[in-house]
Amino acid sequence: MTDSKYFTTTRKGEIFELKAELNSDRKDKRKEAVKKVIASMTVGKDVSTLFPDVVNCMQADNLELKKLVYLYLMNYAKTQPDKAIMAVNTFVRDCEDPNPLIRALAVRTIGCIRVDEITAYLCDPLRKCLKDEDPYVRKTAAVCVAKLHDIDPLLVEEQGFLDMLKDLLADSNPMVVANAVAAMTEIGESAQTEAAARMLTWSGHLVNKLLTALNECTEWGQVFILDAVANYTPSEENEAQSMIERVCPRLAHANAAVVLSAVKVIMKLLELLTPGSDFVQSTVKKLSAPLVTLLSSEHEIQYVALRNINLIVQKRPEILKHELKVFFVKYNDPIYVKLEKLDILIRLTSAANIANVLAELKEYATEVDVDFVRKAVRAIGRCAIKVESAAERCVSTLLDLIQTKVNYVVQEAIVVIKDIFRKYPNKYESVIGTLCENLDTLDEPEARASMIWIIGEYAERIDNADELLESFLDGFADEQTSVQLQLLTAVVKLFLKRPTDTQELVQRVLSLATQEADNPDLRDRGYIYWRLLSTDPAAAKQVVLAEKPLISEETDLLEPSLLGELVCHIGSLASVYHRPPSAFVDGRVAAQRKGLPSRAPTLAEATGAADAGAEVVPTDNAQNAKPAVSVIPTQDSLIGDLLDIDMSGGGGGSGITQQSAAPAVPSQSNAMDLLGDGLDSLLGLGGPAPQQPPQQQPAVGGGSGVDALADIFGGLSATPSAQAGFTPQLESWLPAQRGKGMQIDGRFLRRGAQLQMELQVRNNAMQQLSGFAIQFNKNSFGLAPAQPLSLNPLAPMQTATTLLPLHTKGQVQKMEPLLNLQVAVKNNIDVFYFSCLVPIHVLFTEEGGMDKRVFLSTWKDIPADSESQTSLGSYSHSPDSVSNLLQSCNVFTIARRSVDGIEMLYQSMKLCNGILVLAELKISGGAFTLSLKSRHAEVYSGVQESYLKILKSSN
């Protein structure tokens, strides 16, 4: 007999019948009834009306029945909090049952009932269970602390559960230790007060103990411990080395999660060791085999492993450099595994193994899955760019593929051949003839644009280039923007190379672009060419036919600091998506101070500190990157940005989206890249470019043209303002009549990274004032004095000014208005209360800057409806001076562009509690408009306020 019979009752009046059965005298009947109720609940029927009747069955002496009733309670308590209270007594009694299974069941369930009224009753039983004699109960209670913390963090702290939890770390039972570790890690991620956060940091001593417990834990416990250990950074190289020695055996565990967590710990600790030492080399050697073995596990785990291997290969290529062949795809791999393997194959390709890789890729190009084939063809192109000695073989392979005449293969091949031309100019022109044969079959914009670029670039060698381009012109209006832009440039190139017989053609394309197109990018480019050609053809030649910088072979590498951060998250979702957790985890979690995002810098710092001899500290790489090398950004825009071809997704609509204030950063780079690299050389001629503002380091993805152009416009619009920063006026906080003679004026400042409150105290009373002390109420951002108020006794009519350093680790409570701060000041006369508004900009931290791409993706991730737009009025600031001014308040300008005299500044700021605010500042003829985006709309008004103040301050 099976349970499925319970699902069969669907008659009307069923609830009524169940009610009767639940109240039956016979035990077996009651039990059957409860099962029916649970079955109904399982299929999604609402049986909440039976709440009191089911709770009545709770005192049953049958364990199975008890479990079912508890299950019911978990599901419905939230909807009936007042009735749930009826169950509390039974819970409390069950927590003292002689049977440990029941004690554990009760404490486990009660933590899952997220009803405030019940939570209050939970503390005493939980305290007992944490000290229970049975380890099964203790391990369940440990998790319950984490549950309770999730519901009411302050209660957990007040009741001293954190200390008890910490005691469990020294428990004799490994399972209890493991669960306590898991609970502490969990709580640590969302700790609210400084005390809690401090209590939950891992000390070296503790980590040492955990590593000992590692040998005795279950597989899951090992993962908890390893993940916790990964949060700890040892202070000395020796310590790191001994930790690695103790973690290494875990690499032989059968559980993939244990292996990956161990790899994470080891990868992080390796950073602390002297690079190249014997120990590092032997450790690196040990990592390779376990990683390879992960590829024979289940497909989903393979996928996670491959995404992580992708990171590991970028961080330490030596680990897997001899294991190329394991990344050859198998015919029965799911497509997501195939694509990841292909990516890693390319990363591991070198001159030594290129022959093998090429043979494989050629096979892949004949597969059936279109996406995979495309990627394989692209991979061949990337090989050619990466390994110069193999370029010729790659080209001939591509030509073979073009001969197959398979439409999408041909198109993809043409796209990559264009890259190869760009990398090795004037070397493989002989293939152009073959390419031109396939002109008619090209129907994808990217392939068409690539072909047009090739024709334009080599116009002097293609006899019928004019005819070919003309044939494209016929359907000009129907083409995608990327193709149109390319066509325009190609025709101009052709004209400059063969001016005699192509005048008509260039006229035609210019008029198409300037008069009939409604895309502003296209129009603008048309006008620029037109004017260049009509005023100074020699200059036009210099601009349009300028030598292009070589593209680099290191394709789509992650930015080093991001890579560092992701390595600290091996095995997690962040490592799968190659995005920092702050980019996708919701604000509540991202707002924590001890959060994961800050971990990468500490790693980098630690690296620098531990081995000052090591030359390259990861984060420095970004700055060291020479602007001349444009590194290819992501696969998607790989081709687009390689050249001066504008074909990344944003290109098409960018003109329209500008007005709707969506800051498409790629499209921005398009707009900037208008003349391709021509403008670079123009800059070179025109004179020294103004110094870039420090925050505008060449972004890895952006290409050099962007910054260069930004500089031009910056230089043209105004000389950088000498304004050093912005200091607000003193505000009156406590008038003398209310302060019994004590008058307080003050303001908030941020100096360096230090938040300060400046207090000007004036004694208007007739007697001396002394014994000053200050206290803050709980507030939205946890502001609290970092040290006691130091103020000497004040004689009558005397004024004193003092600076009070603040920190933001105090108690948090959301205020209304958000930025309200209630202050109590005590002196020898009385205690005085006043409240003031904290200007939000003093809460902006120094880490508010971000990569352009991160900015863009974050902006996109925030729904459009949470955007807020306000007009700030008119000011005489130039974009540069605004940018400098705001920078001094930790508002970072990430990108800027100028279109038709409208300047757009894209800015980001990060509040001390981790909330990110993104801003778009539009400056149109002196009128400033601010659009804000954040996951926390409450902060908008404060930010707008601050912008206004800052702008007004120096106008």
């Binding site: 079955a39 199975e64 055996p249 989903e300 979702l573 996708f584």
Partner: protein, 324 residues
């Protein structure tokens, strides 16, 4: 850190049973899972992790059941996937197979199991033999109520106390899979051997076992002949093996679980000759007749024999009336 809730869905995406562990994701979010999956499948961008607004679905498919975990944190994805597979294997050991029917038939016990294997998103006890000691198909009266077996939280969490056999026996099977990647031209691109050592133990008490292998590293360190030694590329052990001991002196020492289990697996990255070499010649005759000449040649030692050899010859879908 880990899963927020676990769902079992039938092939159409209907929830068969679910368990909410953390309460931070609304349970109704699962309704978006199936449409998303179909959409991704159509686009050819299917991945084992599907993002949906702020929630992430991590799922595996087992026969006609999807097992889905949700999370909104930066969960440990490898942990979640290994856990989901583990849950599937627990169910299979409990109910023989994991499919729609068996879930419906056993929903009470499944609730019990789900309660025990994970707590607040943290995986707990997932060893079937231990679970079976206190979560059984029959219900209990409280008088004889089960206690949590000490093994759950013991150092040896995989073996209960007090096992007795009249006859103490251990059986050991070595199973090797050869994995070959051969190019169309007949070159062996890559070859590896995946081996498993399966143990069946019927031993009393808490036996300490040691297993010696002709492992190259061990032989070299003890100065024995290296003729017969084998270089194990990567070894993975069952959780009962003392890893730190193996790391230090290469001895495999362990207290085995009772009954059958996989003690270790290893990988050899050596050049293997394919055991059976198959060549085929395809000849297309007129009148839509195709002739396949398939030649199979064994390449192993004369004194060995191979049983149950299957050779699969793919033919066009519409062929009929074969003649041999």
């Amino acid at each position: 850190m880990s899963a927020s809730a676990i769902y079992f869905l039938d092939i159409k995406g209907k929830v068969l049973i679910s368990r909410n562990y953390r309460g931070d994701v609304p349970m109704s979010v699962i309704e978006k899972f199936m449409p998303l999956l179909m959409e991704r499948e159509e686009d050819g961008t299917l991945q084992p992790i599907l993002p949906c607004e702020e929630v992430y679905f991590l799922y595996i498919k087992h026969s006609n059941v999807y097992i889905v975990a949700t999370t909104r944190k930066n969960a440990n994805a490898s942990l979640v996937f290994t856990f989901l597979h583990k849950v599937a294997s627990i169910f299979i050991e409990y109910f023989k197979d994991l499919e729609e029917e068996s879930i419906r038939d056993n929903f009470v016990i499944i609730y019990e199991l789900l309660d025990e294997v994970m707590d607040f998103g943290f995986p707990q006890t997932t060893d079937t033999r231990i679970l079976q000691e206190y979560i059984t198909q029959e219900c209990h009266k409280l008088e004889v109520a089960p206690k949590p077996p000490p093994a759950i939280t013991n150092q040896v969490s995989w073996r209960p106390d007090g096992i007795k056999y009249r006859k103490n026996e251990v059986f050991l099977d070595v199973i090797e899979n050869v994995n070959l990647l051969v190019s169309a031209s007949g070159n062996v691109l890559q070859s590896e051997i995946n081996g498993f050592i399966n143990l069946r133990t019927y031993l009393s008490g808490m036996p300490e076992l040691q297993l010696g292998l002709n492992d190259k590293v061990l032989f070299e360190s003890t100065g024995r002949g290296r003729n017969k030694s084998v270089e194990l590329e990567d070894v993975k052990f069952h959780q009962c093996v003392r890893l730190s001991r193996f790391e230090s002196d290469r001895t495999i020492s362990f207290v085995p679980p009772d009954g059958e289990f996989e003690l270790m697996s290893y990988r050899l990255n050596t050049h293997v000759k394919p055991l059976i070499w198959v060549e085929s010649v395809v000849e297309r005759h007129a009148h839509s007749r195709v002739e396949y000449m398939v030649k199979a040649k064994s390449q192993f030692k004369r004194r060995s024999t191979a049983n149950n050899v299957d050779i699969i010859v793919p033919v066009p879908q519409d062929v009929d009336s074969p003649k041999f």
